[in-house]
């Protein structure tokens, strides 16, 4: 456990040394949020709410979902690069679980970005836009747990695609398509409230809603206690399902590597 914590800390500290990346991250997140808020401000015009959704709620949705999505970005080509140059075999010689090591490092990077990209960008956004406060401190804390679960869902989706590098020449294209799907279907481009009912029904059967929209709903207090438990239960189920799929591909891929030599 100490080793995994160390991996996360080292990644966190490492990110701090890239000063330009540090400032660009804040600028990038702030601009992305600002662009979306401008578009929706124009769409709202003088209206105070659309379908019961206020501009403040939309702005809060964008700050949480866009801010977190940029904080949750990491090098998704890591596994492919290692498989391609053969160094993956050496990675396996490290006496730790490779998947948990990867997760620790990515989480270390995510924590850095939340603290130093997401939070400053949120403060900048507050200078020109009003955001909804959390329904209560309890809602806020529960949202943090839900954000962690959402991160795991997103991470597992990415891991599944990354494991395909054992068979495919490049997974870059698939990762790009996956990112487009995540952006659209998780409500980071069009808030889930405004999606057509039919599409919402389809999305309900996918893990995408659980990534950002569940934390947003918990934060805004849109869900009753039972609904929160239900939605977080759904998040856990998706983690279980995606974890099993990722484990299946991972085991098959590793077997291919140790049997066929890559």
């Amino acid at each position: 456990m100490r080793a995994y914590l160390e991996f996360a800390i080292k990644k966190f500290q490492n990110k701090m040394t890239y000063k330009l990346d540090f400032f660009m991250g804040i600028v990038n997140t702030t601009i992305t949020i600002a662009v979306y808020l401008c578009i929706y401000k124009a769409l709202y015009g003088n209206a105070t709410e659309i379908d019961g959704i206020t501009f403040q709620m939309v702005a809060t949705n964008f700050v949480i979902s866009l801010g977190l999505s940029s904080a949750f970005e990491y090098n998704e080509m890591f596994l492919q690069d290692r498989v391609k140059d053969g160094s993956i075999a050496n990675e396996f010689l490290k006496p730790v679980n490779f998947i948990f090591r990867l997760l620790s490092e990515n989480m270390g990077e995510g924590c850095f970005k939340i603290l130093f990209h997401f939070l400053p960008a949120t403060v900048f956004t507050l200078l020109y836009a009003r955001l909804c406060p959390p329904k209560s401190w309890v809602h806020f804390l529960v949202m943090l747990v839900s954000v962690l679960l959402g991160y795991l869902i997103l991470w597992l989706i990415s891991l599944i695609i990354q494991t395909w590098s054992f068979w495919l020449f490049s997974v870059w294209g698939i990762i790009t398509i996956k990112n487009v799907f995540v952006r659209i279907l998780s409500g980071t481009m069009l808030p889930m409230w405004f999606m057509p009912e039919a599409l919402k029904k389809v999305i309900a059967f996918t893990p995408f809603e659980s990534i950002y929209f569940t934390p947003v709903q918990i934060y805004l207090g849109e869900l009753s206690t039972m609904e929160i438990l239900h939605k977080m239960g759904v998040q856990l189920i998706w983690i279980g399902i995606l974890g099993c799929i990722a484990a299946f591909f991972w085991k098959k891929g590793v077997k291919k590597l140790v049997v066929q030599g890559g």
């Binding site: 080292k10 075999a89 050496n90 730790v96």
Partner: protein, 303 residues
């Protein structure tokens, strides 16, 4: 420590390892030699568990599945000149600190040891840099320190001296000899530089097309495959008669004589004694067979 029995491995259409069997005891330094694509790296990968043999039996330090055995992995270190272990995006010192936690090392002791290794491998000024900023030689020195940090019982070095300066290289090889004695460790070493192998190893496994064509001590390989010595003597006066000596070849030179002989049949001193009795010897040059030449001969004969 390491037991391989009838190990076969096919990669694609190539039979890379073909019924390989040997046993390596603790405290043995073994050089694995072979031409390109002889199966050296594949053999190390099989021993390290990152490649599964198609058939045969393998046991490394009591474990039959090193790949899954984290305890065993903590006792094994694999330093390769081609594939690296350090974290690419972290500073070298961060990789070392990760290693300390990963190998469950006592922090105080590990830091003292790290200091010593940094001094010996001359990397003190490099530890704050990232591996991609280092030259090949600098990087390999850091990789070696990382590999030695956990004091492995099995140390596998695959072309690990690549890019190193001669002075550093010999200092490091001396350290490996000491390390083996102190830790009773096993070192497996592959290199294209046979001088390094000769210096470091007391046993050689010679591979050709996936099979072991020789397994024994450096002395034995020389005896079996290169027993012929050459001696040039600058003489003055009448040359003696060599008919009674079991020499392989005699060549009369302008200022002396050259003899080629098998040390198993006749010793150098005996020849010299014979010559000195009859004539005055002004200069003697002795050409011993070297490992590189011997191995070259073995392959040339075989191929």
């Amino acid at each position: 420590m390491i037991v391989l029995k009838d190990i076969c491995k096919k990669l694609g259409e190539n039979q890379v390892l073909d019924h390989i069997s040997f046993h390596i005891s603790p405290n043995e330094n073994v050089g694995i030699i072979g031409l390109n694509a002889a199966g050296k790296t594949t053999l190390l990968n099989v021993i390290a568990g990152v490649l599964k043999p198609d058939s045969g039996f393998i046991r490394v330090g009591g474990s039959e599945n090193v790949f899954e055995d984290k305890k065993m992995l903590r006792k094994l270190s694999y330093v390769s000149g081609m594939r690296h272990q350090l974290w690419e995006d972290l500073r070298v010192k961060d990789s070392f600190e990760n290693g300390i936690k990963m190998y469950h090392l006592d922090e105080k002791r590990a830091k003292v040891r790290l200091e010593e290794l940094e001094e010996l491998f001359e990397i003190k000024g490099l530890v704050h840099m990232r591996p991609q900023k280092l030259s090949l030689g600098e990087r390999m020195r850091c990789e070696l320190v990382y590999g030695l940090l956990a004091e492995p019982k099995i140390l596998m070095l695959d072309e690990a001296m690549i890019g190193l300066d001669v002075s550093v290289k010999y200092k490091i090889m001396e350290y490996f000899q000491e390390y083996r004695k102190k830790r009773q460790s096993t070192i497996l070493f592959t290199s294209h530089n046979l001088m390094e192998v000769e210096n470091l190893c007391d046993r050689i496994i010679l591979l050709d097309k996936g099979t072991v064509i020789f397994d024994g001590s450096v002395e034995r390989i020389m005896k079996e495959f290169a027993p012929l010595y050459r001696m040039k003597m600058k003489t003055e006066g009448i040359l003696p008669d060599f008919d009674d000596l079991p020499l392989e070849k005699i060549r009369i030179l302008q200022d002396g004589i050259e003899v080629i002989y098998d040390q198993q049949k006749i010793k150098t001193e005996q020849i010299l004694e014979h010559v000195v009795k009859k004539t005055q010897v002004e200069e003697v040059k002795l050409y011993e067979p070297d490992l590189e030449g011997t191995i070259k001969k073995i392959y040339q004969k075989d191929l």
